[in-house]
């Protein structure tokens, strides 16, 4: 019998993705048989899936796997980011159940969607072909559109979903057009091949098509990582989406966007470095400044964290602009610590919120500190970490990013970043001022902390404090994961 020659498929390269998507499909089927009040079990199942996947990620460390004819590459860089995605997915799932029960929106599809989104992020991180990256991005985005609009009966959530969808699809157009032009200029969609073509034909800054393609891709990615001036959707979507999903969206997809952004720009277009570094310099400054300054005026804490997440994208861009090993490792370290601190903060918001979240303003936290000391301490740790105050992981991360920038000679960028960081402290402090220094307007209800959320908080606090005090091991890992 005649056999068909199998193409060079290497399943080891997409092991984590495979496991996650299989589990996601299985959960979709199981979901049909699970009664509405027991959907939490789906959450536990998906957590098991995530833990299993996490082990394959750990197992793959140090042995790069190339698969599918070179369109995916699971190297340390991809694996580190996969770790970040899994952490953010797991933490978000842990805080989902209680929230969804409270909002009476306990649909089982939530968990498969989160897993699929995670799968998409992973593809983005390990994609070495523009096509793979695009597919990963779309898998992620489509899942997120649904997750943002997950509360069908809440108008806010609907709006968030719709806005995210329209602007997300819009930005996809730019990204795609950029990819098309780069394909046209170089004749390939493989990242490595693009790089060698550009190098061989010395297409540096002179090739208009390549340049336009690069700029359009930068615009597309900037939408995804919510960099100013392409950040307009972020606050609305973050405010309207279900809080656990906001937590998820503010961390995982952002990290995935950076992973793809870095891989495409650093590997494929190193010869255009001078051009894109200038472009990103401006983006970084704008993003930090706009994010921080607008965050100063926010009353709603979700919205404030949304703007703060814009600002954080700006800090990470600083590391990107630096473009050296320290800066790139800084991006990874920072995104990981950001996952812990930001989702941790959102976990507290989930706990404090009442049905429909009428009490999401900073003022509603008045007196929280002494009513719920433990939770308030957790919140303070997260906020201090976000503000970049030692000994928290956020500080080490910022330290790392700014070191990279200074090493690369971007002194002014580092100074602007640091001043921004100082300004940002104000709005984080404001929450603490309300928590500890103002008397409560109305008495807090007794908060029910589900074991899942408690676990999430413990993990998050550990993830903020341990790398903050003894960062050596993680820094080592991040250094080994650098692409350069």
């Amino acid at each position: 019998m005649e056999t068909i020659a199998m193409p060079a498929i290497n399943f080891a390269a997409i092991m984590p993705e495979t496991i996650l998507s299989v589990i996601a499909m299985a959960l979709l089927l199981i979901n049909v048989f699970v009664p509405s009040e027991q959907k939490a079990y789906l959450g536990y199942l998906s957590l098991i899936g995530i833990v299993v996947t996490f082990f394959t990620v750990i197992g793959g460390w140090g042995t790069p796997q190339e698969g599918f004819n070179g369109s995916v590459m699971q190297d340390n860089f991809a694996l580190f980011f996969k770790g970040i995605f899994l952490v953010s997915a797991a933490l978000s799932i842990l805080i989902s159940d209680q929230y969804m029960k409270r909002e009476e929106c306990n649909h089982g599809e939530l968990y498969p969607l989160i897993l699929l989104a995670t799968c998409g992020m992973m593809l983005m991180a390990s994609g070495t072909d523009l096509m793979t990256i695009f597919l990963g991005l779309e898998l992620l985005s489509v899942s997120l559109y649904v997750l943002a609009g997950f509360q069908r009966d809440s108008l806010k959530s609907n709006e968030a979903g719709l806005k995210y969808f329209l602007l997300g699809a819009f930005s996809t157009g730019f990204l795609l057009y950029g990819m098309a032009l780069i394909y046209g200029a170089t004749g390939t969609t493989r990242i490595a091949a693009i790089a060698s073509y550009v190098a061989q034909n010395s297409l540096a800054g002179s090739n208009l098509m390549l340049l336009i393609g690069m700029v359009l891709m930068a615009v597309g990615f900037s939408f995804k990582i919510a960099a100013a001036p392409f950040h307009m959707w972020t606050p609305d979507v973050y405010e309207g989406a279900p809080t656990p999903m906001t937590a998820f969206m503010s961390v995982g997809p952002k990290a995935a966007g950076f992973a793809a952004f870095v891989r495409v720009f650093v590997i494929a277009l190193p010869t255009l470095r001078a051009d894109w570094a200038d472009l990103l310099w401006v983006l970084a400054v704008l993003t930090m400044t706009v994010g921080n300054i607008t965050a100063l005026y926010q009353k709603n804490i979700k919205r404030m964290l949304a703007y703060s997440s814009i600002a954080h994208a700006g800090y990470v861009l600083v590391g990107f602009v630096a473009g050296n090993a320290v800066g790139t490792a800084g991006i990874m370290f920072y995104m990981l610590s950001y996952a812990f601190m930001n989702i941790g903060a959102f976990a507290i918001i989930v706990l404090v919120g009442k049905k429909g979240e009428p009490n999401n303003n900073v003022e509603d936290y008045a007196g929280f500190g002494f009513k719920h000391p433990l939770l308030a301490v957790c919140m303070s740790i997260f906020l201090f970490s976000l503000a970049g105050i030692p000994p928290a992981a956020g500080f080490i991360g910022k330290f790392y990013l700014f070191s990279g920038a200074i090493q690369a000679g971007y002194i002014w960028l580092a100074i602007i970043g640091v001043l921004n960081s100082a300004a940002s402290v104000y709005y984080y402090l404001r929450v603490m001022v309300f928590m500890y220094m103002k008397d409560p307007v109305e008495e807090f209800d007794w908060l029910k902390v589900s074991p899942a959320i408690a676990l999430c908080l413990i993990i998050a606090v550990a993830g903020v404090l341990i790398p903050g005090i003894v960062p050596g091991y993680l820094l080592e890992l991040a250094q080994k994961a650098v692409l350069l």
Partner: protein
């Protein structure tokens, strides 16, 4: 001294351990108070023991001359960050002062704090760890870490238990200090990279960084960043504005620690890091420091003169007194620098005591307005005696501690810059005037509004008595102190012994 026992680490982390012990007794206030005080006392005893044992082993240990205790452990190897602590004759008095003032601050607030008591002591202990760390760390990264750690508790102390515009003051304090220190962080990173590129060994350790050759342009910027961070803490004239607010609105313990300890960290940073790391840049900035120091002295004293609130008056007097420290550092001669270190300790004790005294009045009568009091001498003689003693110390009466420090600074500065010394002397005179006015108004003028004022309690008597004895001893017999300081100061200034 053998390094095997990690004495400095123990010194730094006893308070933090005390914090952990507070957690199980969180709601049992009496226990919490005692445990906290116990931890602070233990730290004080250890510090005293180190002092007692120090002279015997004063040479040796470490890679920097003059340090007699030295601990060095790997921490974040990738970055060349090490856990390096060291103690010399300048750090030791600061550590003693820290341990001493912490105990005082706890005793002062023994009854004044009625709500969230455990948290209050918890924060004081965290702060003690931070301040000890700042005085002892010799790795710039570690130093920065402790530098930030000591901010947070003070923010909460002012914001939770403060008076008046407490939140405004707390946030202002935090933002001012943070903005400066973040720029310092950039300068630290810059220095680290310059040193690393030069020698191939990337490290944050002070001993290695001291040998860095820096282009003069770069070193000016780096020094400016360090100077800004430290100047905000000291505070030096144009960036002092957070201080009166923070002092006035802080609770008594907060004011005492703020004045006695936090301000010292800025001056200490200049002595330990700023000047030695960038000697040439520092020389360029010296005229500016003279001017700002003198302005600080005169301006602080002048504004203090106009205050109606006693706490604000003492706060502004701090600006004036710290101006002397700045002058002493700027002159950078052995005599002036010894004077500056001495003045740091003096100011810590004297101003700490004055804040405590004002706090006691506030506790009893609910007001701090000078105009509300009068004739205290007849009503509360013991209290009045101490009030007089510390006021006289503050204005620099010979025989009391401040006189020695100010005299040394003026003598040292006069040799280098007579004009600055003359102007500073004007400040001394103004200090004399407003302090005497304060004493007269509060203690001697006839009673204005009848206020129920009890004399000091036993606990307060102990606090004030111990501080009073310190003030007198330092004033009458400062030789042991000056001996301790003389060697490191001589090493720093590169000259012979004074």
């Amino acid at each position: 001294m053998p390094n095997d026992y990690l004495i400095l680490t123990i010194l730094v982390f006893i308070p933090l351990t005390g914090c952990l012990l507070l957690v199980p007794v969180w709601s049992r206030v009496e226990w919490a108070r005692r445990i906290a005080l116990g931890a602070a006392l233990l730290d004080l005893v250890l510090a005293c023991w180190v002092y007692a044992a120090a002279p015997a082993v004063i040479a040796g240990g470490g890679t920097l001359p003059g340090f007699f205790l030295w601990e060095d452990l790997p921490w974040i190897e990738r970055f060349g960050i090490r856990y390096t602590l060291g103690m010399d004759g300048i750090a030791l008095p600061m550590v003693l002062l820290t341990a001493f003032i912490t105990v005082i601050a706890m005793l002062v607030s023994w009854r004044a704090i009625k709500e969230r008591v455990t948290f209050h002591y918890f924060l004081i202990l965290v702060m003690e760890t931070g301040i000890m760390g700042v005085f002892l760390s010799l790795d710039l990264f570690l130093f920065y870490l402790f530098w930030e750690v000591m901010l947070i508790p003070m923010f909460f102390l002012i914001g939770i238990w403060g008076h008046g515009r407490r939140i405004y003051s707390a946030v202002k304090f935090f933002l001012f200090t943070l903005a400066g220190s973040l720029l310092m962080l950039l300068a630290i990173i810059g220095l680290y990279l310059i040193h690393g590129d030069q020698s191939g060994a990337y490290t944050f350790g002070l001993p290695a960084l001291l040998h860095t050759q820096i282009a003069s342009g770069a070193s000016l910027w780096l020094f400016a960043a360090f100077l800004l961070a430290f100047a905000i803490k000291v505070p030096i004239f144009p960036v002092h504005t957070w201080l009166p607010d923070a002092h006035t609105d802080a609770p008594t313990a907060g004011s005492v620690i703020l004045a006695a300890l936090l301000l010292k960290t800025g001056a200490y940073g200049l002595i330990r890091f700023g000047y030695p790391l960038f000697p040439e840049a520092a020389r360029t900035f010296t005229p500016l420091l003279y001017i700002l120091g003198v302005i600080g002295i005169i301006y602080g004293s002048w504004v203090a003169f106009a205050q109606a609130d006693m706490k604000r008056l003492v706060a502004y007097s701090s600006v004036g007194h710290m101006g002397f420290v700045v002058l002493g550092i700027a002159a950078w001669t052995p005599v002036a620098l010894s004077g500056a270190v001495m003045q740091m300790v003096n100011h810590g004790v004297t101003t700490g005591a004055l804040f405590a005294l004002v706090g006691m009045l506030d506790e009893r009568s609910g007001t701090r307005s000078i105009a509300a009091f009068g004739g205290l001498w007849g009503k509360a003689p013991v209290y009045s005696f101490f009030f007089l003693l510390f006021s006289l110390a503050s204005l620099g009466l010979p025989g009391l501690n401040n006189f020695v420090g100010e005299f040394l600074v003026l003598a040292g500065v006069f040799r280098v810059s007579p004009i600055a010394a003359c102007f500073a002397f004007v400040g001394v005179v103004v200090t004399l005037i407003y302090m005497l006015r304060l004493v007269q108004e509060v203690l001697f003028v006839g009673e204005r509004t009848p206020l129920p004022l009890a004399d000091i309690s036993f606990r307060e008597g102990i606090v004030l008595g111990v501080m009073g004895v310190t003030v007198i001893i330092l004033g009458v017999y400062p030789a042991p102190f000056l001996d301790l300081v003389s060697m490191p100061v001589a090493l720093l200034t590169g000259g012979g012994l004074p």
